[in-house]
Every structure is written in C-alpha cells, then in structure tokens.
C-alpha cells in the first residue's frame, strides 16, 4: 500500500464520523427541529461504545451500545422539546453539556485502557482491484454504513412519500397538522434517528478512529457536523462533500505539520475548519436554493391545538 493510498484511507476515516452525525442531524432539522445536542449524543456514543466493547470483549456489541446510547439520550431531548415544548436551543445546549459531563463519569474506569478496533471488511474480489480496491472495498464497517446512510437518506427525503411528509413538517408544521399528519410523532422519530446516528458517529471515534477512551474525545466534531448541515443547505450530497473536504484538509494539515513548512501549527490546525466553512459558504450563496431547502419552521416549537 503506497503512501498516497494510506492518506486517502485516513481521510475516509476522518470524514466518516462527521458525515454520519451530520446526516442524522440533517434529518432532524428537515423535520423542523434544531438539536444542538449532537456533540453530547456523540460523546455518549463514544463512551458507551467503548465501554460496551471493553466489558463484552466484542467491538460489535460496543457498536450496538454506542448507537443505543445516542438514541436513548436523544429521547431526553425529544420529550423536553416536543412534548413539553421547551426552547430547542437551550435544551440542545444542555444536552451537550450533560453528555460531556456524564460521559466523563461513565468513562472514568476506562481511561488508559487499550481498546479493541472494529475489523476492516474486505469485500472478496473487489478489494483486490488496483488503486480503488483497498480504498473503497477494504474499509471499516462504519464506512460502509455511512455510504448507505447518505444515499439512503437522500433517497428517503426526495424520493419517498414519507420523506416528502417529513420535509413538509419542517416547512410548515401547522399546515401539516391540518392535513392530518402526526407532526409530533414524525419529529420524535426524526430525533431518534438523529440520536442513533450521533451515537454511531461517536462509536466510530472510540472503536475505529482511535480505539481508546479519552475524556471529551469528540473534540467539537458534533459542532462541525451541525455547521455542515446548515452550510450544505440541508442536502445529503453536499453534506458528504463537506465532510470529505474537512477530512481531507484535516489529514493534509497533519502531514504538512510533519513535513514542517514553517507555517504556524495553530494555523494549520485551524485550516480544516476554515476551509470547510469557506467552501460551504460559497456553495450556499445561491439564495433561491437556500430558500427552497431551508426548513422554514426550524427551531420553532409546535404545539397542536386540539
């Protein structure tokens, strides 16, 4: 495996958690709910994923534990914002703070413990292909999941009736309610999906990216995922492009730091954030496209009158 190939491999590994968390949040926001708790759900996924793998000895069980942790944690947010109609911004922020604290407590016994890594899956035959073989068909299992999730979400949102219904709720929940669509139930399920995705993204961090538990190991990736969704104007393909751009620049700047170009390392570390924001802002300059794609009810609580 050449150096170039291994760089590309690590890019995919860096991009995958962002992509998964962002796709989950995209579905949540398309339903009109703004969950700022992505970081908190992600870090819960990371710690529970690691703990599950460590206690059971199987990274696969860890994976399931991570997803479940994110999903369960998201329902706390759902009950507060959807059933009691609390402020979504404040509740989401609290969820992040709670997740960061709680994960530190749960992860205490596991600090410094060597973790087990999810094995890469080699698709027989295809992974032997020159150049792309290893890159596309010899990845970790969560990578494949991220591809399926991205394509599946795009198909679901724009090709299915249920996806159309979800988008309509994000656009105008009051109208959706008068048409007889169960707005709150849809939003619960969307938040659940978002939580599961954030949990999966967190589990990727502690089971694939760096198989160990370090407190606060999400390091702001949840926030990047949130920004990705907005700048990608709520479109899955653009989210994927943004995530890979971020991953690419992250890996690129690590290599640049190693080579020592004489550029301050702080600047290089900031580069992925800067590059992603700049490119996505350029992409979202088309006002019409933004208008049609922005969920108009985003962040506004909806209480059906009945």
């Amino acid at each position: 495996m050449g150096i170039f190939e291994s760089i590309l491999l690590t890019i995919a590994t860096a991009a995958t958690p962002l992509l998964i968390a962002a796709i989950g949040e995209l579905v949540v926001e398309r339903s009109g709910v703004l969950n700022l708790g992505v970081e908190g759900m992600m870090v819960m996924g990371a710690v529970c994923g690691f703990a599950g793998a460590s206690l059971s000895g199987s990274p696969w069980i860890g994976l399931v534990a991570g997803v479940a942790a994110g999903a369960v944690f998201s329902q706390l947010f759902a009950v507060l914002t959807l059933s009691i109609a609390t402020n979504q911004v404040a509740t989401g922020l609290s969820l992040t703070l709670l997740g960061l604290g709680l994960s530190g407590m749960i992860g205490e016994p596991f600090v410094g413990e060597a973790g087990s890594k999810l094995p890469n899956l080699f698709i027989p035959g295809l992974s032997e292909l020159p150049l792309v073989g290893r890159l596309i068909f010899g990845q970790d299992p969560i990578f494949y999941l991220s591809v399926i999730l991205t394509v599946g979400t795009a198909w679901f949102l724009f090709r299915t009736r249920t996806g159309l219904t979800l988008r309509s709720i994000g656009d105008n929940p009051a109208s959706a309610h008068t048409l007889g669509i169960p707005v709150i139930r849809y939003r619960y399920l969307a938040v659940l999906f978002g939580g599961a995705c954030a949990g999966l993204a967190g589990a990727h961090l502690s089971l694939v990216y760096t198989p160990q538990w370090v407190e606060n190991m999400t390091a702001g990736r949840g926030w990047i995922a949130l920004a990705l969704v907005v700048f990608a104007s709520w479109r899955p393909a653009r989210v994927a492009a943004g995530a890979y751009l971020f991953g690419g620049v992250t890996i690129g700047q690590i290599h640049a730091q190693a080579l020592g170009f004489g550029i301050p390392s702080q600047f290089l570390s900031a580069l992925p954030y800067l590059a992603t924001v700049v490119v996505l802002v350029m992409m979202s300059r088309n006002k019409r496209l933004m208008m049609v794609n922005t969920p108009a009810s985003l962040g506004r609580p909806f209480v059906p009158d009945r």
């Binding site: 988008r167 656009d171 007889g180 208008m291 009945r306």
Partner: protein
C-alpha cells in the same frame, strides 16, 4: 365526476347543538346547521363569530366539546382531517395550508391518502385543474405563485378526493374581482354536479349573488337562517353585527394643499427571492387627501411601505420626498421626527410586541420622535408616568377595550390592538401618515372607527396614504385611488371616477401606465 343522487329533502351534513369551549369561552355555542345536496350554503359572520372554529370541527381539525354531526343521516365522529376526507368532505382554508418550499404536485400528494406516484398525481391535477378552469403548473414551487394560484392548488387538492361537500373559508378575500368571478364559475359547476358547497364569508354582496341559503353566526351562536336573495344587505348585516354599523363619512375634502409625501420614480430591488421589486413608482399625496393603494396581496405593498417608511432605506435619497425634503436614505426615526407616522401591516410581531404592555409598545414606536416627552436625562430613562398617561389617552381616544390598566398587547383582540396601533400614530397628529392594511382581520365596529379616524386626520390637513386589499374600505376612505400590480403603481384617479371593474383590470396589470406621467 358526478356524485350519486340523494333524495330531495335529505341533508348531506347536519349539525346539532355543536359546541366548542376554549377554557370557559364558548367559540361555538349550540350550533345547528343543515346542508342539502347540490346547494351553495353561506356561513355568514363577523371575525370572531365562530365560523372558523365550526368548520375546523367539521373537518376534524378541532374536536367538539359537545353536540352531534350527521353525515348523510348517520351520526359520525370526525377524528381527523383524513377521516373527514374519507367521508367526502374537502376543505379550502383561508390561511392556506400549503408548503412554500414544495412543488404544487408535492403539496397535492401530501393531502391524498392513497399513495400514487408523483408523476401520476401531477397528471391528474393538471387535467382536473383545466376541466374546472383553474389552470396550474404542477411542477412550480408554491413560493413562486400568486395568492390566486395558491388557492387553486387548495381547490384542486380538495376536488381530487371527489368530495360531496367542499368547504371554502373566505375564498375571495385574496382575489381580484375577475379572479373571484372565475371561482364562482367553478362553484356553479360543482353545484351542477350535485356537490354541496359551504361558503364562508363576511361579504354580503357575493353571498347574495351566489348562495342558495345562508346561516348567520354571531358570538358563536346562530342568529339567522335565510335565503340571502330574499334579504337586503342591511338586514343581513343586522343579523351579523346585531346592530347598525356606523357609516364612515367619506373624505371628499375639496381644499387640496401642498404635496407632503411623494415618490419620484422609486425603484427598489427585491430583497429576497420571493419578494417583489418596486418598479418606477410615482405618487403624490397632498395635504387633506387620502390616497388609497389597492392591489392583491403580494404585489409589492409591503415593499412600498418599507421604502416609504424607511424600514429599508432606498438607494437614491431623492426618490422619496417628505414635506419637500429628500429622505430616501433616512431611517424610520428621522422620518418620524419630520412629522410622519407609520402603521405597518402585521399587528403581532411587527407593529407591536405581543408580550409587552401597551405602554412599552408606545415607547418602542415613539422613543425617538417623542424623546423630549418620554425620556429624561442624559441616560434617556423612560418617564413611565408620561408614557402611561399617553397610552391611556390613546385608549380613550380610540375606544380601545382592554382588561386592566396596561395589559400586554397580545391580550387585546385584533380589532382593539389595531385601534391602539393606529391611535399611537394619530396621537402625534402626524402631517403624513402611511398605513398598510389598516383593518385586516378587524371586526366591523373597530374597522369603521379606524377608517373614520383616517378620514378625520386628512380633513384636519394631513396627507394620508392607505395601502389596502379591501375595496370596500378603499371606496369608504379614499379621495384618490391608485392600484399596485407586480411592483408597478398605476396613475392615481379620483375615487369617484373609478369602478370596481376598472380597479380589477388595473389589478391584473391590464391598463398600461403612461410613461413618466405622475399621480396628478
């Protein structure tokens, strides 16, 4: 798609003693209603009479507190809009239940219970819309459509379900007279097919024109059931209002003073993709005159108000002239300080902050123009005594009915809050007043009070500009009328020279504006 015939004295829908309580307030109180097959049945009533609550119960959006609904003689419980549609009830809402970001076909698909492919829905909608004379492009985004076109979506959406009863809530409030005529044609077609129509309106003239029977509501109760064609507008109005409505004595002032407000070839680009650009708008309002600007919603009224008030200053200062000074670049406070007053369209969130008391809302609007009276010291502390006194003065002057000394703006009814926000400007005796939709969604009593106040202000020598969609209102207050259409303003005509038909044609943009000609 004819509907199966039913015997002559049968009813499609009967309602017995239907009641809906919100807390202790009875929005609907023991309503009885019978709708026969193949009739256009009017539901008449003022704003707040309970019409919307009643139809929401019929369509399964609200659950009745007590009472029964009979559908073709059978007692039914309508638990959801889907259940209503299944029975054969279609609904066209007043505030459209449409999704702006979606296409016409997607909007229609959402209301259909059977899951057809989108292409098939688009084809059927297109076919049906042409059959009923309501042409629609199924692939257009709703956000790009006019209000009339949006209403067509709602109607086509209802028709696709092959309903026996179609409920229309205030359908003509957003249409030009010509568009309304087309709608009536469609309704007659539906009636000829044996379908029933429940037609909700407060416009007596059109109810008398198209409806076979009428049920009148007031304060949540039925106050009359009649054949509207046998009644006079006055007798219908009495049933609706319960008393004679004060007549506005029109402006008709003969002494015209100097020009106080003028737009000179005013243009402004659209700020958002769905806004309307102003194109070369010229107008003049003289002292003692009420210039009314008619037009269907979404033709640049909001943008014109923004430019004249300074909410969004325009590029070139000289395109807006206030008392002879170029103010196009000045903000709203500077223009207020020069003696102008402004009343924007939406009461809640724009003209007033619903959660704040009336006195705070007064300070928010006038803190700069009346800073000497309302603020004290170098820190600009609010003199709450002076402010409260002024708020009280306004409430007395405009007959604002409220609970408590200084209640939150949101606790007032629409009409009373509107009286307050108009009175807030009148209290300053502005020499120029610009007001957008002064009586939208306001009951008849409050509306006539507000209109009279506008006319009186003009009589006292101020220049008044009224932007309105309501032609009745325009004919009541205006001395001059101009029409706005797609961001262009027509010439202004003396009110006496214009008919509804001509205004309708101007609304459709059919009269070319003569280049360079000014309002006078």
């Amino acid at each position: 798609m004819p509907v199966s015939g039913v015997s002559a004295d049968a009813t499609v829908l009967s309602v017995r003693q239907l009641t809906k309580l919100f807390g202790s307030f009875a929005a609907c109180n023991g309503i009885d209603l019978d709708i026969k097959p193949g009739e256009i049945h009017a539901l008449l009533g003022e704003n707040g009479a309970g019409k919307s609550t009643l139809v929401k119960m019929l369509f399964g959006v609200l659950a009745p507190t007590s009472g029964t609904i009979l559908w073709n003689g059978q007692t039914v419980r309508i638990a959801s809009p889907a259940a209503a549609r299944k029975l054969g009830i279609g609904m066209v809402f007043q505030h459209f239940s449409l999704f702006e970001a979606l296409t016409v076909a997607e909007n229609i698909a959402l209301s259909l219970d059977d899951k057809l492919p989108l292409a098939q829905i688009a084809a059927r909608a297109s076919e049906l819309s042409h059959a009923y004379g309501l042409p629609l492009d199924p692939h257009a985004h709703v956000a790009d459509l006019s209000v009339g076109e949006r209403q067509r979506i709602e109607i086509v959406r209802a028709l696709l379900q092959n309903p026996q009863l179609i409920i229309l809530d205030e359908p003509t409030s957003v249409l030009t007279p010509q568009e309304a005529d087309r709608l009536f044609e469609t309704l007659f077609k539906l009636r000829a097919e044996g379908r029933s129509v429940l037609y909700i309106s407060h416009r007596l003239e059109e109810v008398q024109r198209i409806c076979d029977r009428a049920t009148v509501l007031r304060h949540g109760k039925v106050t009359g059931a009649c054949d509207p064609r046998q009644e006079t507008p006055a007798s219908l109005a009495r049933m609706m209002v319960g008393a004679e409505v004060a007549h506005v004595s029109a402006a008709g002032t003969t002494t015209r003073g100097e020009v106080l407000l003028e737009a000179r070839h005013l243009s402004a680009a659209a700020r958002t993709p769905f806004a309307v650009a102003l194109k070369n708008v010229c107008l003049k309002v003289r002292a003692g005159e009420v210039l009314a600007i008619a037009g269907v919603a979404g033709n640049g009224q909001g943008e014109l108000f923004d430019a004249l008030s300074g909410e969004y200053p325009v590029e070139e200062a000289q395109t807006v002239q206030l008392r002879g000074k170029a103010v196009g670049r000045s903000g709203i406070n500077d223009r207020r300080s020069m003696g102008a007053g402004f009343v924007p369209e939406e009461r809640h969130g724009h003209a007033a902050v619903s959660a704040l008391p009336l006195s705070d809302n007064l300070v928010l609007a006038r803190y700069w123009s009346d800073r000497k009276a309302f603020l004290s010291g170098p820190l600009g502390l609010i003199r709450s005594g002076a402010v409260k006194a002024a708020a009280k003065r306004i409430c007395v002057e405009m007959d604002v009915r409220k609970s408590g000394e200084d209640p939150a703006a949101g606790s007032l009814s629409g009409g009373n809050l509107q009286k307050f926000i108009v009175g807030r400007e009148l209290d300053r005796q502005p020499s120029v007043l610009v007001v957008n939709q002064p009586t939208w969604g306001v009951d008849a009593g409050a509306a006539s009070r507000i209109r009279q106040a506008l006319v009186d202000l003009a009589k006292s020598g101020s220049a008044v500009l009224v932007i309105s969609q309501d032609l009745d209102e325009i004919f009541e207050v205006a001395s001059e009328i101009a029409v706005i259409s797609e961001g262009r303003l027509s010439d202004a005509y003396p009110a006496g020279e214009l008919t509804r038909e001509k205004i309708g044609l101007l609304m459709g943009g059919l009269y070319g504006k003569t280049e360079g000609a000014h309002a006078h």
